[in-house]
């Protein structure tokens, strides 16, 4: 990893699971931020949903492209949403004890004059039937600097040993 990356904080989910992972008070001193997530949820319908600054306003847009070995799909938020929804965490109906990977990248997150874009690539796998590889693009239609990023499963909880690391990235 480039030496312009700095690990700001890492969290590992404990034995009780976690309903969300919430990075708060993110300093504005970096050019970009990134979150690497290794996670599994205890629900069959669980996918990650990303919120910014605790905002539940319907001012986010997202689109996903993904393939699972037998089909390729594109879908989107069908208008505005309160979150960005990528793919990349393993669900309870997939291979046991296996965690999906997701890399969330948010450039220019501290700007107070531009909307915030986010790109996410992620994979999860299920030996029995398929593996999903996905890319998602999202946009928060707000000029607010991002100081908080919260990742919440759409259903269920993150299971023990799920981890997330927030990186700050400088361009020099």
């Amino acid at each position: 990893m480039a030496n312009t990356y700095k690990a700001i904080a890492t969290v590992t989910v404990g034995s009780g699971g976690a309903a969300s992972i919430d990075f708060q008070n993110i300093a504005s001193t970096y050019t970009d931020i990134s979150i690497n997530l290794s996670a599994r949820v205890d629900a069959a319908n669980g996918v990650a949903q990303i919120y910014f600054n605790n905002s539940t306003a319907s001012d986010k847009l997202w689109r996903r492209l993904y393939g699972d070995g037998s089909s390729a799909v594109s879908d989107n938020s069908n208008g505005t949403s309160s979150y960005v929804r990528p793919i990349g965490i393993n669900r309870s109906d997939q291979t046991a004890s296996t965690f999906g990977n997701m890399s969330i990248y948010i450039p220019n997150y501290a700007s107070s004059s531009t909307y915030k874009s986010v790109s996410v690539d992620g994979v999860n796998e299920n030996n029995a039937t398929f593996a999903e590889a996905a890319f998602a693009a999202g946009l928060w239609q707000s000029n607010s600097a991002i100081t908080r990023v919260t990742i919440i499963p759409s259903s269920g909880n993150f299971v023990q040993y799920s981890t997330a690391t927030l990186y700050g990235i400088k361009n020099s």
Partner: protein, 73 residues
């Protein structure tokens, strides 16, 4: 009890906080809404697949070969 993990990036301290009753209710409502959307998406995908199979069967009944039907996709 379900907890959320809060990471204070200014201190590096992680705190486990129990969800409030309102947060639990909101989670349950969100999960139900998501399940509804997921079911609708799956139904739409199945309807599309069924329509495609039906169209292919009708084309075959008209005498088109499998290669000719495939060429239309």
């Amino acid at each position: 009890m379900t907890h959320k993990l809060i990471v204070d990036c200014s201190t590096g301290v992680t705190t486990e906080v129990e969800l409030t009753a309102e947060e639990i209710a909101q989670r349950e409502a969100d999960a139900a809404a998501f399940a509804e959307i997921k079911a609708a998406e799956e139904a739409a995908a199945q309807a599309k697949a069924d329509a495609k199979a039906s169209a292919q069967a009708k084309l075959a009944a008209l005498g088109l070969t499998p290669d000719e039907i495939s060429a239309l996709n």
